[in-house]
Subunit: 112 residues, 4 copies
């Protein structure tokens, strides 16, 4: 019973982290120059939050180039973004990802 509650909490916390990541960072100015720095800061912002034991963020360079404006940068879009987070509440660990679903045209977040 307690384990079940802990697992539900871990799922809830994982959702918070991905929802937060997307809505905090979408729109950020990004180019080939600062893309790595942007990934690292996004990972650090997830890692700071309670219960997070692992975080990974990748911005798709091909899509980044494709969206590039005449000014040599663009605004971060859901289509470019991949993120992964592992949350641990006591013994219960859950992993969740955010990835663009081309068919649904949606930044799909899921427990895996």
């Amino acid at each position: 019973m307690a384990g079940k509650k802990k697992r539900e909490e871990a799922c809830f916390e994982a959702g918070i982290k991905l929802g937060a990541l997307f809505h905090q960072f979408i729109g950020i100015p990004v180019s080939m120059e600062n893309v790595e720095l942007v990934e690292r800061v996004m990972e650090s912002c997830m890692k700071l939050q309670p219960y997070v034991s692992f975080s990974k963020v990748r911005i798709d360079r091909k899509k980044l180039k494709k969206s590039m404006s005449e000014f040599g940068y663009t605004s971060l879009e859901g289509e470019m973004l991949y993120a992964e987070v592992v949350v641990r509440v006591d013994e219960e660990e859950v992993r969740a990802i955010l990835r663009w679903d081309e068919e649904k045209k949606y930044p799909l977040m899921s427990l895996i």
Copy 2:
């Protein structure tokens, strides 16, 4: 088993909604004039998202007044914000809230 998975998904989805809400709207210019409109748009943004059956947002008028700048408005802060969301995945329904925890100095999100 399937019910358990559905419940975990519902918890995950509830987390997404509250994490998204906070990080999308913190910083928005708000005053006594547009505070109701801001609450309604925040509720509508939660309601649009998958599995949400109910959403409620309240901005604390006292704290809003207390934070008021010389220019008659302020930026929305975590301290002022209360939110509630109900998520339903098939038969499984979960309710989660976001409220400022004065002791923890933190916009605490929890399953209730």
Copy 3:
């Protein structure tokens, strides 16, 4: 001389408003259902800020529909957004707009 300074300040203030609008609201969940409400709240957030005498926001319904996800809403993107602001500092009034420039692939902001 003083008029020149006032004009420069008005230009500066107009820039603040459009930069703020874009980066606060990009990513907000939007659909045909709440698009008018979103436009109104965006206008109200500009109007609250110092020196603003007029604000207008329009979200392109065609582009909104085109970006629609399987879940019946999408995240607000620069491509969909048109905004106008009038700023007045004493006698000096400037008008600025934000509109998507298809050729530059950029949400161009300009004094007009």
Copy 4:
């Protein structure tokens, strides 16, 4: 005449950069651990944008510590933020800053 226009444009562009910075980054999770990284990414995001020749961001460590939650981090607030940007349009250069004005309780942006 042309110079005057260029100067007004430079003022407008400087405003865009500070308005964008504030509203993109307010709410970002920040602690003593990632504060330098956050400053660097904020600077890089300003530097990418058109006409910017210099950018500087500082987050006040004392205020950061004072706002620290029980979880060892906080959300970036206007009170903690100092930023500087230099914008050059042809021969016309303007410098603008964002700093917290304690008396006005406001993140004041000004041409200097």
